[in-house]
Every structure is written in structure tokens, then in C-alpha cells.
Symmetry: none
Subunit: 198 residues, 2 copies
């Protein structure tokens, strides 16, 4: 065990100590029940160090599961656009990220999330709070059906990711990105702003 | 509990006992941690019987998934109906199976399948051939876009299953089955017979 003394910004030990403490606490207690303050205490650093290195609890979590993509800022870009083009923008952004060279780290993280119940629970909490919760909050959905609309959007996006990238089912994996966007964007747009049929 | 005595090649009890033991052990311990020897012991048969009936652990695993879902006869029921009600019928059937008591073992099997690339490949081939291939064959889709339509249907159904049952994301897991059917059926129907936007 290395000494906790003398950690300061720019010290790589500090970053590693935060990551190690975060992995342990997220695994033990889940994403929602783990606070930045708890992680800082376990790592023996000031909470400001966590913001210095990782910006947010969301970003720290993504780093612990080895996803090097800034999902919150990608989502901010999508959500800043015209709500009527949300379906199109969400699909374009998601396909850009997963089709890029960062995609491999997402596939690995997703596989482990699906195979291990502890990681599944962490990812479920993260998706529910940081992804679907952000959607509901940013898009001014009616409170009575907001979670269901967010869940339906999640179902189509999850299936696209699992089918195209995790299982690599041929017709989905081989489909050009612009065709995927054209075919699926109306689904996302209806789940967001259209009639749900009930 | 039936007697273990007198099992021999050609005895249908032997095959069923192996399948039943395999379902239980795969669900409890996952694919990788379950050995042919353990399944044979739980079924009260010689390991050679497993190779006689199923050739390999992989094949036995696929058989347990196939038998659990009973895809061929379930799909035959869905496909025998009015093509304009296909979306509704497919969703109703899939939710019935996964919401039933078979659901728990399907979740465990699905988790194991996605965690391991070799098993993922088996599941991918199975979904491509037995599910999407059957759709394309039975529904007289135009040959130029049939695989893409089948793939799009697969993407929405996969995401529903992963979101509602594997990750158990609250708004999807808690949504009443009739609302899921009402909201998602038009998506499936458009992917099958409607405009794809390209």
C-alpha cells in the first residue's frame, strides 16, 4: 500500500487512488448510492481532486468501466438541438461514437456489464439516472409519461447497440450508418413526441 | 422425481433429464462455469450420453435456449396471423414468454451468451438463422430490403429484452405488458411493411 501523503494535482498516484476507490465503492454500493465525498474519503484526497481529474461522478464512473468517451458532453450536444430533430441527432451521434475506434472499449464494457450482475446494476443505475434522467429533464416531457418515453427510447437504442456492435448480427452490422439513421430516427422521434398508443 | 435406472440411448427420458439438468445448471452458474461432467452427474447419466444426444456443450446450451423459448412453434403462431397484426402478435408472444416463469433461466442464459465471444457468435448465428431468417422467409418480404427489415425488427426486440429483463431498467421493467405492446407494435409494423426512409 502506497502512502497517502503528499498527493496534489498532477500526481498520477492521486488519479489512480481515486479510480481504485471509485471501482471498489461503485461495485459495493452501486452508482446512485456512492457519493463523490465517499470516494474522496476512501482515496484519502480532497473532493476537489475528483472534479479536477474527472469533472463529474458520471465521468468518473465511465472511466472505472474503461469507457474513454465523454458521454455527458455528447448528450449535451444532442439535447441542445431542435427537439424535432432529436431522433436524427441522437442516432447520428451514437453511431459516430460506436463506429469510431473508441467503439471497441464500449463493446468490452458492455459485455462485462451484461454478464456480471454487479456491473449490470451499476450500468442500469447510470443509464437510468445519467442518460434517461437527463433526457427526461432536458426535453420537458410530460411528467406522467416521461419515464416511459425515456424507457422506450432506451429500448430501441440498446437493441441497436447490442445487435450492431455486441452480437454483430449481419444485416444490422453491415447496414450503412445513414440508412440506420433514416430507418430508426422516426421511431425515436415518435417515442419522444408522438402518440404512444395508450 | 422419476427413477434414474434403466436409461440408455434412444430413451427419451435420458434426453429430457439432460436438458432439464443443463437448464438448471446454466441458469445457476452460467455457461462457462458449467461442465458436461456436472450436467451428467445432475441428470444421473454417463457423460457419453450428452455427446450422444447433443454432440457438444455448445450445442446442448443452444438447445436449452431454443427449447426454453420454443421459437419455432411460437413463431409459427405469430406468422400464421394477419401480416398487418404481426407487430402486435410478435410483441404479445415475446412478452408472454419472458414474463413467464421460464424468464429467469432465459435471463441467465442470455447473460452468459453475451459475456463470451464464442457463445455470442453462437447466439448471433441462431438469431440470424432461426429468428430473422424465418421472418424473411415467411413474410414474403422484397428480397432487396428483407434482411434490413428483419435486422431492424431484431434491433427493437433485442433492446426490449435487454432493457426490460437483462438490465431491468425501471421504466421498461415496470411498464405493464399491454402498454409495451401498444407503444412498440407500430415500430415493428413499420419495420416490416412501412416506409424505411431510404
Amino acid at each position: 500500500m502506497m502512502s497517502r501523503a503528499g498527493r496534489r494535482p498532477g500526481n498520477p498516484d492521486t488519479r489512480e487512488a481515486i479510480l481504485s476507490a471509485a471501482r471498489t465503492l461503485f461495485a459495493a454500493n452501486g452508482f446512485n448510492a456512492t457519493s463523490v465525498r465517499q470516494i474522496a474519503a476512501a482515496a484519502g484526497v480532497d473532493p476537489a481532486m475528483i472534479h479536477h481529474y474527472f469533472k463529474s461522478k458520471d465521468q468518473l464512473f465511465l472511466t472505472t468501466i474503461q469507457v474513454g468517451i465523454d458521454i455527458p458532453s455528447k448528450m449535451a450536444l444532442v439535447l441542445a438541438g431542435d427537439p424535432e430533430k432529436f431522433g436524427h441527432n441522437l442516432l447520428t451521434t451514437v453511431l459516430e461514437v460506436w463506429d469510431s475506434e473508441d467503439g471497441a472499449s464500449l463493446v468490452a464494457a458492455f459485455r462485462s456489464a451484461l454478464s456480471d450482475p454487479t456491473t449490470s446494476a451499476m450500468v442500469r443505475d447510470f443509464v437510468t439516472t445519467a442518460v434517461l434522467g437527463t433526457l427526461v429533464g432536458a426535453l420537458h416531457l410530460a411528467p406522467d409519461d416521461a419515464p416511459q418515453r425515456a424507457g422506450l427510447i432506451g429500448s430501441q437504442m440498446l437493441g441497436l447497440v447490442v445487435g450492431r456492435y455486441i452480437l454483430a448480427i449481419p444485416p444490422l452490422a453491415a447496414m450503412p450508418a445513414d440508412k440506420v439513421v433514416a430507418a430508426i430516427a422516426p421511431t425515436i422521434q415518435r417515442y419522444l413526441t408522438g402518440p404512444l398508443g395508450f
